[in-house]
């Protein structure tokens, strides 16, 4: 996940990726309504075997990658997770596990740490069991609180990740209380970004402007209170921003994502862009793909940009914003991200926001009819 922190990251050699996101599987016990997996999920039979992942981790390290994020779906469902952590660590990578905590046991956690795990990012769907169930259609909240107790026994990095939206934003104070009680190194309050499953649930999930303002204010005071204990990061919903986010730190600039079946993508959502061909680690090396794959070259640098991006003074800061959002909202992946207030297509974002903000919630809303993420066998 890209947050404000990425500006602090080093680029030892700006032509090399810094992070590899390994989507080990799309299987997951949770069915979150904003899942970042594609709507067409990879099946278990097509998942890369351990030996291929091991080779990919070595190739990544040789390419200059520092961080390996093991994610999914739920990476814990992979029976070879301990072996994969060991393989990543032997390759010289810093290993993070991005997890819901389901299905984790105390002894499994100890084995993962023993294998070389550096950092766990534990996701929360809310501050209460009821809200978490509404979002993920799975009973998981109580188990996550157990996982927190087990994590206390190990000297590894811990990030608590709260995905924020209209249906849980009222629990923000309780989420912060959980952070204050546990005091992880980092707490991320990441607003839902609207692609794939989240895009299908946009009407239900987009918060109102008043909610976002309250959230910013509350988190700013938490940041001050927790200084020196927990780094508090807030990612605003970009629909409410004036300029686009520098999506994935710029296309093909900092990270690579490998899907469960071996396709290499510049970002989580890149598959939604039509006509973009992706290479597979089963056929090519990561270095080859990074340097010459059509998918990585298409929007790398500035040559692809149209006006107003092409001559904009912000083009080195936000790289024209998100290509996937540009496609989703305008039908043209080469256009400026319509979150940008400098383009006429911004009107479309404003229409969506006006509709959300016109609905003044008086008392608790009824749970919406969500499109839940599909289960994946």
């Amino acid at each position: 996940m890209s947050g404000p922190s990425t500006s602090k990251s080093v680029n030892i050699d700006s032509s090399k990726p810094l992070a590899l996101i390994a989507e080990l599987t799309h299987r997951c016990p949770l069915r979150c309504v904003y899942c970042s997996n594609p709507m067409e999920l990879s099946l278990r039979e097509s998942e890369l075997p351990s030996a291929v992942w091991t080779r990919v981790f070595r190739e990544a390290a040789a390419l200059g990658v520092l961080h390996l994020d093991l994610t999914g779906g739920e990476p814990l469902v992979r029976p070879d997770l301990i072996e994969l952590i060991g393989a990543g660590r032997s390759a010289g990578l810093y290993i993070s596990l991005i997890t819901s905590g389901l299905p984790l046991t105390e002894s499994k956690l100890a084995a993962l740490v023993e294998a070389g795990l550096d950092h766990v990012q534990l996701s929360f769907q809310g501050a209460t069991a009821a809200t978490a169930h509404e979002i993920a259609l799975t009973t998981s909240h109580g188990h996550k609180l157990h996982v927190l107790q087990w994590l206390r026994k190990h000297s590894i990095g811990v990030t608590l990740n709260f995905v924020i939206h209209r249906r849980n934003i009222h629990e923000l104070e309780q989420m912060i209380a959980l952070v204050e009680d546990y005091q992880p190194g980092c707490a991320e309050f990441a607003s839902v970004q609207y692609y794939g499953w989240a895009f299908a649930n946009k009407e239900a999930l987009l918060p109102t402007r008043a909610q976002v303002d309250h959230c910013v204010e509350t988190l700013q005071s938490a940041q001050i209170r927790l200084k020196g204990k927990t780094r508090v990061i807030f990612v605003v919903p970009d629909y409410y921003a004036k300029y686009p986010k520098p999506c994935v730190g710029g296309w093909g600039r900092k990270l690579m994502l490998v899907s469960p079946d071996g396709f290499v993508l510049p970002c989580h959502a890149a598959r939604i862009i039509p006509g973009l061909p992706f290479d597979n680690v089963k056929e090519k090396t990561l270095a080859d793909i990074w340097e010459s794959s059509e998918a990585f070259c298409r929007f790398r640098g500035e040559d692809w940009m149209k006006e107003p991006c092409k001559s904009c003074s912000r083009r080195q800061e936000d790289f024209g914003g998100c290509r996937c959002q540009a496609f989703l909202l305008t039908g043209d992946a080469f256009s400026t991200d319509p979150v940008c207030s400098l383009v006429p297509t911004r009107a479309q974002v404003d229409v969506t926001l006006a509709a959300i903000n016109a609905k003044i919630p008086c008392g608790p809303e009824e749970p919406p009819r969500y499109v839940y993420r599909k289960t994946c066998k």
């Binding site: 922190s5 602090k8 990251s9 080093v10 520092l66 961080h67 010289g92 990095g157 980092c186």
Partner: protein, 91 residues
């Protein structure tokens, strides 16, 4: 919060120095990495749970004999405070 002279800084959980020649003078942290220039690398290498703040400043003095001792101590304290706010170290 600034550390006192006897505090013993150590790397925070999940933080370690790059341990191979592809990661020279890099501090690896959850979701980010810091490039360490000049004395910052020396300071972090000494944040091993053995050295006090005064001890770190003394060792830096040995490496930079021409520098003013009070300046070295003050700069070390400020840098350690900043590293703690970044959650890179505890003391």
């Amino acid at each position: 919060m600034k550390p006192n002279h006897n505090a013993i800084p150590r790397l925070a959980p999940g933080v370690r120095l790059g341990d191979n020649d592809r990661q020279p003078k890099i501090l690896l942290m959850p979701e980010r990495a810091l490039r360490l220039n000049g004395p910052s690398f020396e300071i972090l290498r000494l944040c091993d749970g053995q050295n006090s703040v005064l001890g770190i400043a003394e060792k830096l003095q040995a490496a930079y004999p021409a520098a003013d001792p009070q300046q070295i101590l003050n700069d070390t304290i400020d840098y350690l405070a900043a590293l703690r706010d970044e959650r890179a170290i505890d003391f």
